[in-house]
Symmetry: C2
Subunit: 216 residues, 2 copies
């Protein structure tokens, strides 16, 4: 069965709407994203857009999933480029940072303050975990806990990071947090007049984090 003219047109229109929405998101941020102006730009009347997208919130949800997937893909590609563990780790960190700097509005959408009145629906959850999985994978494969008992309290959900030694689980979560904290602070201007050489600082943070999760 060929998709049929109608199905094809629908797919194309949907794509056009999402693309235009992402464009506007990138240009003016999530709060300024307007269904009406997306419609205008795509060349239809606002009410017609509702045939393709149930609401403004649903449009945002789709953009969120796409963003999670985009950064996740970049992180996975960085990991797959190989090299020694520490280099892999740094490559993934850099990939996240680079993606964030290329797509600040999308980064803000997924890691910034939640859009008010908007609760992330379930379909975003798997996409949201991809970067974390990549980091956990590196730690699980190459992290050296030093053969010690875990000095950390037992605070994580069980089976959260399979393959990661218990003594490295908490450090891994801390490192994951540090990654997004650092990228967020840089992106949202908190390092203005604080950190001069952002590249070098970021690499230093990545390296410190690598040490904390037992790489090398």
């Amino acid at each position: 069965m060929p998709p049929g003219v109608r199905a094809r047109a629908r797919a194309e229109t949907t794509r056009a709407i999402l693309d235009e929405a992402r464009r506007q998101l990138a240009e003016q941020g999530a709060a300024a994203l307007s269904l009406r102006s997306v419609a205008r730009e795509v060349g239809m009347v606002s009410s017609a857009v509702y045939r393709y997208v149930a609401s403004r919130d649903e449009l945002l949800t789709r953009l969120i999933v796409e963003a999670y997937d985009a950064v996740g893909e970049r992180a996975e590609a960085a990991r797959d480029a190989g090299g020694p563990p520490r280099e892999q780790w740094r490559a993934v960190w850099r990939a996240v940072r680079d993606w964030a700097r290329e797509h600040p509005a999308e980064y803000a959408l997924i890691y910034g303050s939640p859009v008010p009145g908007y609760a992330a629906p379930a379909e975003t959850i798997p996409a949201a975990g991809r970067v974390g999985l990549v980091l956990a994978g590196i730690v699980g494969e190459h992290g050296d806990a030093g053969g010690q008992e875990s000095p950390w309290p037992d605070v994580l959900r069980a089976d959260l990071l399979p393959g990661v030694p218990p003594a490295l689980a908490v450090p891994a979560i801390m490192a994951w947090t540090q990654l997004y904290g650092t990228v967020g602070f840089e992106l949202f201007g908190q390092y203005e007049n604080v950190v001069d050489d952002r590249d070098a600082y970021f690499d230093a943070v990545a390296d410190a984090a690598a040490t904390s999760v037992g790489l090398d």
Copy 2:
């Protein structure tokens, strides 16, 4: 000269507007904050509010400054409660986290994604630095660099953290970032299904950070 009826009324009206705005911010978030509904609630017509607040952005700016001051005050109070350095450090961390959990919308306003189209004006800068100053103060007073050369690249603005040993400056910035990263992740739901015991986890992070900046 007594302030006069007019000046007093003006101060009261301004206060009422700001209070109502903060209430709405707390209840529905920054994007849902509407000058018109603030006006309604305060009991005047929307155009009259513009006699007190130049624009919605200016209203947000005032709320931002008040929020920075509030969390800064709490952090200073925690430091001033005394105790050994490590305890002081943890108290400040907890103060920030507690304030954030009590005022999530305000926290999101100052540390979340910037409201689109909104650039933080200069008057927010001093207020924004208060918590960082508190942390830097503790490190400067009690941080022990171990007498070593700084293994960190020279990436920070000169004279940024007076009194802090050079070897501890980068760790201090990293710790400051980690604090807000951790609080933000908890607040914005990234630890959902990840970290079970948030209190214990947070204390563990605070402790690790304390060690990294040479406390004890």
